[in-house]
Amino acid sequence: MLTVEELSFGYTPDKENLSDINFTIYKGEMVSIVGKNGAGKSTLAKLLCGFVTQNHGSITLKGRNLADDTIKERAGYIGYVMQNPNQMISKPMIYDEVAMSLRLKGMTEEQVQEKVHEALKICGLYPFRNWPVSALSYGQKKRVTIASILVQEPEILILDEPTAGQDFRHYTEIMEFLKELNERGITVLMITHDMHLMLEYTERSLVFSEGHMIADTTPAKLFSDPQLLRRASLKETSLFELAKRCGLDSESYIEKFIRYDRQVRNK
């Protein structure tokens, strides 16, 4: 669905932040974009959303090159949720915040209300629809930002570190919510270095290091490859070591664990 070919970009002429990136994302996937801080993950997101323009290469969505679309137009297909919800929220009332982009498009109030309520329901915030943003917790604010992007009905959602700074309980809440969105057909790309997130929720990881994409694989495979992990600045999970100790194949052990853990937690 979304194809990136030979993408290269640099903030300054002498240095390339991203070089020769190639990948294709298919509809309904849930993909993690991983790598060290500064490897180029956020830059990639910015390129996809049109915040910056590439030096070389192309981005095509469903066969159509996105190069001529403005940021606003691209936002109709690709939504971007920032890491810090405080940087996105610009209205004091939840309803207005979510409605903002629709009102700016010039929709009627009835249309706006319909879509806003829908988005709020999906995000589990419908009971709070008349509340101010200041009454919400951090996790709820995060969901407000997601709602305000969802309301534009993008097909692809890019999230920058969706679980940063959250404890396990809230992390699970947000991730389950994202999983539901994914099951509704929205393709989800997450920039993260949370290994557990990668393992449990995504079926594919794009690994970046120093501006290059060094791998496009499943999380289980990734965590069974110590060299790759080092280059991506990730840590080996203790599962890998446990598997090694017990003489088991680490990749299948990790996968088995993930599946088992999910079953247990969903009971």
Binding site: G165, D167, H196, R245, C246, G247, F257, Q263, V264
Partner: protein, 304 residues
């Protein structure tokens, strides 16, 4: 018997703006040279506890306390932030926000400048601390030229330069990628060994914080201390899953496999874990049988 540096006795703290106390009946002793990790879900009060140690409570965030808190023999409620900062050095979680100087050199020197240390002395000590954290060549670098991990090391140097006995780390891993986080914990470990400092780490990423061993883990929930034991004891129990903190993965895996955990297996760290042949075999088989799961009830509770 090691010297007690920090002593909470029936300590309760309530912010002025809140209707109820945030932390209740805290009884906690921390001894010289210990490394203690304080964990708990969001809102459990661990940050409040940390702020009571460095003086932000009640001097920046007004509130009232009952009970006693002494730090290095001084009553915290009477001391004030400046006096407490002689005993407790705090490294905060936002690597950018606490980098105050324009360059590495200036940031490390910051607290010395406030103490009116003569320029010559400052320059020497800055160089010494920078060397210890491996940033000697970066003394003239500006913050935007540094990575998150480097900035955090600068903050550590800036705190250590005062030779404080107690180091307090408030969610140090939050803004770091896993590899940088690992390096940070290693650095803390080395510095502690060198200086004999007492280290308190507030984190909720328990497995990462345990990259190097800790003497104790204090588990908090809803403002109270729920558990205060060695890591091994804590992992053997079910307390963590009950409070919504993730156990280290290998512990969960072993529990799923039905492997019985014992203290002499050294479960606190993967590297030190001792697994008998039989137990290793069980790991291989254990995950297949779903009915073997012992943690069902607790898991459900934790997801709500």
């Amino acid at each position: 018997m090691r010297e007690t540096l920090i002593f909470f006795e029936n300590f309760t703290f309530q912010y002025r703006s809140q209707a109820e106390p945030t932390i209740y009946d805290i009884n906690l002793r921390i001894h010289k040279g210990e490394r203690v990790i304080i964990v708990g879900p969001s809102g459990c009060g661990k940050s409040t506890l940390a702020h009571c140690l460095n003086g932000l409570n009640p001097f920046s965030y007004p509130g009232t306390s009952t009970g006693k808190l002494t730090i290095c023999g001084v009553e915290a409620a009477e001391a004030g932030i400046f006096e407490l900062s002689q005993y407790v050095g705090t490294v905060l979680q936002d690597t950018d926000g606490q980098f105050i100087g324009m360059t590495v050199r200036e940031d490390i020197a910051f607290s010395m400048e406030n103490d009116c240390v003569p320029q010559q002395q400052m320059q020497e000590r800055v160089r010494a601390e920078a060397k210890k954290v491996g940033l000697l060549e970066k003394l003239s670098a500006a913050p935007h030229e540094l990575s998150g991990g480097q900035k955090q090391r600068v903050s550590m140097a800036g705190v250590l330069v005062n030779r404080v006995p107690i180091l307090l780390f408030d969610e140090p891993l939050a803004n770091l990628d896993p590899a940088a986080g690992r390096e940070a914990i290693e650095l803390v470990d080395e510095l502690q060994k060198e200086n004999g400092s007492t280290v308190i780490i507030i984190e909720h990423r328990l497995e990462d914080a345990m990259h190097r061993n800790a003497d104790r883990i204090v588990l908090m929930e809803n403002g109270r201390i729920v558990s205060d034991t060695t890591p091994a004891e804590l992992f053997l129990s079910d307390q963590l899953t009950g409070t919504g903190i993730r156990e280290p993965l290998y512990i969960t895996a072993l529990k799923y496999a039905g492997v019985e955990l014992e203290q002499d297996m050294h479960p606190e760290r993967m590297q030190e874990l001792i697994l008998s042949e039989e137990k290793r075999r069980r790991c291989g088989h254990g995950l297949k049988d779903r009915r073997n799961c012992p943690e069902k009830k607790n898991r459900r509770r934790c997801l709500r």
